[in-house]
């Protein structure tokens, strides 16, 4: 194996080793508490309060969108560590002495996406256990759900690492959430699926196709419920990979500027 890749694996091993200490805490927060509250608010209360005669599976359809919170929160933690490092100790500069900058970015994205993916996997199982028959899984393709979760984690990790490379000010993380994450989340299928957004405001529906979060919720809803109302999984995966490539490339360019790489 090439020595650069061996160093990369060592970095990855180090990150996993550090994370291991907090794994139980994250697992409780993301795998149990997060889906429990989401299932109650978005799967049980919200549909009953908003709609007088609740259509079949509406609670489940609404609850699926709340995975975006779990994905964003989980991938934000490694990104935040990266932000603090870039602004403080700059351990990352030592890493760039050993391997090329693009490999450092790859390592961060791979680590962040793996952690996010592992933590997100039990989400729908817990939601199903809580919502019971209201979460109809008779048409669910679990391999496709896992596939969607993997590519979603990858895209969202690349997005947050790019954000980490772009943030230079104290209030940068607050701005990231207020100006980007919250609007992208709200219009990314967190509340309602795309066909309802398109039906209500068609031009916004078309504009929303530029929202990377949309392909996460649409692909997951299709894989979980199999309804043709949602986008098919293949175009969602293609879009997620496209966004991942764009975010990764932009992160590498910006990272090189930040560390003044020659």
């Amino acid at each position: 194996m090439n020595s650069s890749y061996r160093v990369l694996c060592a970095f990855l091993h180090r990150d996993v080793y550090i994370l291991r200490k907090h794994l139980g805490m994250h697992a409780l927060n993301v795998c149990i508490l997060g889906p429990t509250f989401s299932a109650f608010i978005f799967g049980y209360l919200q549909p009953r309060i908003l709609v007088a005669h609740m259509p079949h599976n509406l609670g489940a359809i609404m609850a699926v969108g709340s995975i975006l919170i779990a994905l964003l929160e989980m991938s934000f933690r490694p990104a935040l560590a990266f932000i603090l490092d870039l602004r403080g100790d700059r351990f990352v500069e030592y890493q760039t002495v050993l391997v090329r900058p693009y490999l450092v970015i790859f390592e961060r994205i791979i680590f962040s996406s793996l952690v996010t993916f592992v933590m997100a996997c039990p989400f729908f199982v817990v939601v199903k256990l809580l919502l019971g028959s209201e979460f109809d899984t008779s048409a669910t393709s679990w391999p496709l759900v896992i596939l969607m979760l993997f590519f979603s984690s990858l895209m969202i990790a690349a997005y947050h690492i790019l954000a980490a490379c772009l943030i230079t000010t104290d209030d940068g993380t607050e701005r990231l959430w207020m100006r980007f994450n919250v609007p992208l989340l709200a219009l990314g299928g967190f509340v309602l699926p795309w066909y309802i957004m398109y039906g209500a405001v068609p031009w916004l529906g078309y504009l929303d196709l530029l929202n990377p979060m949309l392909y996460i919720t649409e692909g997951l809803r299709r894989a979980l419920f199999g309804s043709p109302n949602f986008f098919a999984v293949t175009p969602c995966v293609i879009m997620l990979l496209t966004f991942t490539a764009i975010f990764t490339y932009a992160a590498i360019v910006r990272f090189k500027q930040r560390i003044d790489h020659v």
Partner: protein, 260 residues
């Protein structure tokens, strides 16, 4: 002696106002994107799904409460970062000001920042929601009292939390283990009477939660509807919660900073 404290307090607030003036456009921009998103969701998406028109305004007010919580969370992180690294607070402690006065200056700054971000959300939101949010029914006096008490409540509790917990614990656990349960069992997203209709026990639990009175108080004073909790009851509960919060803030601050 007290004049000195008041003078230092005023100087600190004046400085914060100066900083805030420079950051006004940034704070406004932070709020405006969320405002537009929420207006679209509550005015167009939910009614398309079959939601009654009367729920648009109360749901939108829930968003404003959410903004207050989100902003206070960010401000707590700022304070935690200061406690962890720069410790500007220690410089402030050596000023001719007592710790309670210093905390009052922090709370004033947080309230001012909340007002800058959420005021446009309320005013512009009501205008954009049009007939769904009639401005003719507002009770301005009561609303201002409830809004200030709500801002005071959030500022006190979040500031106290930033002293009570370590940075690592706060970043990893505060939202899922503290805020999520508080928000789940409160009437901030949906009106209390609708929660009680759907799930009575959740309605009962949410009565023990001050966030319920923040949202319901705002709804009762901004929208003319007898379904919401009485604003005077909300004022009484919020005042009591603020006193408890102030006590917690001072005790956690003394424990963390140990000022002489």
């Amino acid at each position: 002696m007290h004049t000195n404290h008041a003078r230092t307090f005023c100087a600190l607030v004046r400085r914060d106002l100066y900083v805030l003036r420079g950051a006004f456009v940034k704070s406004f921009l932070d709020g405006i994107l969320i405002l537009l998103t929420q207006v679209v969701i509550t005015r167009y998406f939910f009614p398309y799904l079959g939601m009654p028109q009367e729920l648009i305004a109360p749901l939108y007010i829930g968003t404003v409460v959410m903004m207050l919580i989100h902003q206070n969370f960010s401000l707590s992180i700022e304070n935690l970062l200061d406690l962890q690294s720069e410790r500007i607070i220690e410089y402030r402690l050596i000023l001719p000001i007592t710790p309670p006065w210093l905390m009052a200056s922090y709370i004033t700054r947080w309230i001012l920042r909340m007002m800058v971000t959420t005021s446009p959300l309320i005013i512009l939101g009501a205008l954009l929601l049009g007939p769904a949010f009639p401005l003719t029914n507002i009770q301005p006096g009561l609303f201002v009292v409830i809004y200030l008490l709500s801002a005071l409540l959030f500022a006190t509790y979040f500031l106290a939390s930033s002293f009570a917990y370590s940075y690592d614990w706060f970043i990893n656990n505060f939202w899922p283990r503290r805020l999520d349960p508080i928000l789940t069992f409160s009437a901030f997203l949906f009106p209390w009477y609708r929660i009680t209709d759907v799930c009575w026990w959740a309605g009962v639990i949410s009565l023990a939660n001050p966030v319920t009175y923040v949202a319901e108080g705002c709804r009762a004073t901004l929208i003319a509807n007898t379904n919401y909790l009485n604003p005077l009851l909300c004022i009484a509960i919020l005042s009591g919660a603020c006193i408890v919060g102030a006590y917690w803030l001072l005790s956690s601050m003394y424990k963390r900073l140990d000022p002489v």
